[in-house]
């Protein structure tokens, strides 16, 4: 096969897999736009009624509030801890580093449903009632390592000589941190923050066991799906899919703009 033919084949395959990846989202969008109580395809009557009904529901507003609060807190805490974690992971040569690197990876390479259960037992053993606050903690166990890896990739490409130069020029430790380390690592920190927010927003296995009486959107959707069909499910599903897509595309656009402005 020629190089050209192989190239075309790989492109075609990649695009086909992307279609496969987005097909369910398309189906959910379609289902959210029907006017009838049950989903029948081809759609007989289109309508936005279910969107209106969903957003008027107080329960759903509460779910949104829960999910956003949890994701926001997770993002803030995860980025702070993971920032220093990433410096230890990739910047400094210290004695325990290889062990530390492996410990960071362990929660990622661990079945999340089992982790959720383990946390539930642990909260129960030390007498903590599960709620949205324990869910934040549970998400962090999995998300901090992910964010640490994301920031680490940026730290690897960071030249420590920059910091040393600043020290030689008489900058204090805090000045070096604020004027050199932080700005250089900012792209990694920003993508880490995106990862943290979105992974928490979409997380289901950890929330299932650790939110207690509070619910997040994924947990609520799961309960509804198992119980039977309601058109509110496609609406919420569409919102969470497009929300994630918009946030990411927006972030990507901002990063490219910034890069262009710099060069």
């Amino acid at each position: 096969m020629t190089d050209r033919g192989r190239r075309a084949l790989i492109w075609a395959w990649t695009l086909a897999v992307l279609v496969f990846l987005y097909l369910p989202a398309l189906c959910i969008l379609l289902a959210s736009l029907t006017a009838s109580r049950y989903f029948l395809f081809p759609i007989q009557k289109w309508g936005l009624d279910w969107w209106r009904k969903t957003f008027e529901s107080l329960e759903i507003r509460q779910l949104f509030a829960n999910s956003i609060t949890i994701a926001f807190c997770v993002m803030v805490v995860a980025v702070v801890i993971a920032f220093f974690g990433a410096l230890a992971f990739a910047r400094y040569n210290w004695k325990g580093r290889t062990v530390f690197q492996k410990i960071v990876l362990l929660p990622i390479f661990f079945p999340q449903s089992v982790l959720g259960l383990a946390l539930l037992l642990w909260f129960n053993a030390i007498g903590i009632q599960t709620s949205w606050m324990t869910a934040i903690f549970a998400h962090l166990v999995w998300i901090i390592p992910v964010v640490t890896l994301v920031i680490s990739i940026q730290v690897y490409s960071f030249d420590p000589a920059l910091e040393e130069a600043a020290f030689d020029l008489g900058a204090s430790r805090w000045q070096v941190f604020r004027e050199v380390t932080l700005p250089v690592l900012l792209p990694g920190i920003v993508s880490g923050a995106f990862f943290a927010f979105l992974l928490s927003w979409g997380n289901f296995p950890l929330s299932l066991f650790t939110t207690g009486a509070d619910a997040t959107i994924p947990k609520y959707l799961y309960a509804k799906m198992v119980a039977g069909y309601t058109p509110g499910v496609p609406v919420l599903g569409t919102v969470s899919t497009f929300g994630a897509a918009l946030l990411l595309l927006g972030g990507y656009w901002l990063v490219t703009l910034r890069r262009r402005a710099q060069s």
Binding site: P24, P42, A118, F167, Y222, A245
Partner: protein, 288 residues
């Protein structure tokens, strides 16, 4: 690279930076796992950790047919991993070698689904495959044929797992493939190696670290999968995670569930340790 302003007293600078994360992992990861282990030795149906330890739960498990669920979980995870390796390799190769300036936007498109809850995405498949859904509804109205829905069969569970875990295979693999230096590949070609030889002798071994991470990650996630079998499979297969969840919810037998979880952890943990031990993470993540 020696850290500047090394104080020499107390912890090294690296250890000080690692400290918050380590403390968090102790209370958030190590302690919960120890709790599960402790529970697995409590007498059946106890809800505290204060009773005399026993091995009853493990005896119960080995006497029961839980091994069937274990088997399903392992089999489906292995199948998922194998399929994903075949599906993702050409894409990873394209991302690293062919797509050039399109790579970032394609990466983004492959990333977005990661952030949508897996049950939402699986739900889309139900709408696609269900009777009178997108696929069957279209077939019916265009061609007038009405095949049976394939929903709630083991095959669909596999489809769901492949679908959900695809990015987790793709990204490490892309990282691995981009670690192969172009010069090495060209040198092999110049020395007369066929395309297949280049792939087998150069491409594959050099991208192995990334590929192994992808295999391991998807296997671990797939063994812990719970939503796919439930949402798409309609209980035609029962994975081990389902047994664990049942023990904790309907059966109200926490120690039994904990013992099952411990067995799963042992399997997964052994695999992870074996694989991770062999790789230098700096080389995988750091090399650009």
């Amino acid at each position: 690279m020696a850290a500047p302003h090394e104080t020499g007293k107390g912890l090294s600078q690296g250890a000080r930076n690692a400290l918050p994360l380590m403390l968090f992992m102790i209370i958030g990861f190590a302690a919960p796992l120890l709790t599960v282990i402790a529970y697995s030795f409590m007498p059946p149906r106890s809800f505290g950790l204060t009773r005399a330890p026993t091995l009853d739960n493990y005896a119960d498990i080995f006497a029961s047919n839980s091994y069937i669920s274990f088997g399903w979980s392992m089999l489906f995870a292995a199948l998922t991993v194998a399929l994903l390796a075949l599906i993702c390799y050409p894409i990873a190769y394209g991302m690293a070698r062919l797509f050039g300036r399109w790579s970032p936007i394609l990466t983004l498109l492959f990333t977005i689904p990661l952030f949508v809850s897996e049950n939402v995405r699986l739900y889309g498949w139900i709408l696609f495959l269900i009777k009178n859904g997108v696929l069957l509804g279209t077939l019916k109205s265009w061609f007038g044929i009405e095949p049976e829905s394939i929903l709630f069969t083991p095959g669909v569970v596999l489809l769901g797992m492949v679908y959900v875990y695809l990015p987790f295979m793709l990204f490490p693999m892309t990282l691995g493939v981009s670690m192969v230096p172009n010069e090495t590949r060209e040198a092999a070609r110049d020395l007369g190696a066929s395309r297949w030889q280049v792939f087998r002798e150069v491409e594959l071994p050099l991208s192995m670290p990334g590929i192994m991470i992808g295999l391991l990650l998807t296997f671990v996630l797939a063994v812990g999968a719970i939503a796919e079998a439930k949402v798409l499979g309609g209980q035609t297969i029962i994975p081990i995670t389902h047994d664990i969840e049942i023990a904790f919810t309907y059966a109200q037998n926490w120690p039994l569930g904990a013992a099952l979880a411990v067995l799963l952890m042992i399997v997964v943990g052994t695999l992870v340790m074996l694989v991770l031990k062999r790789f230098d993470l700096d080389a995988i993540l750091g090399k650009r």
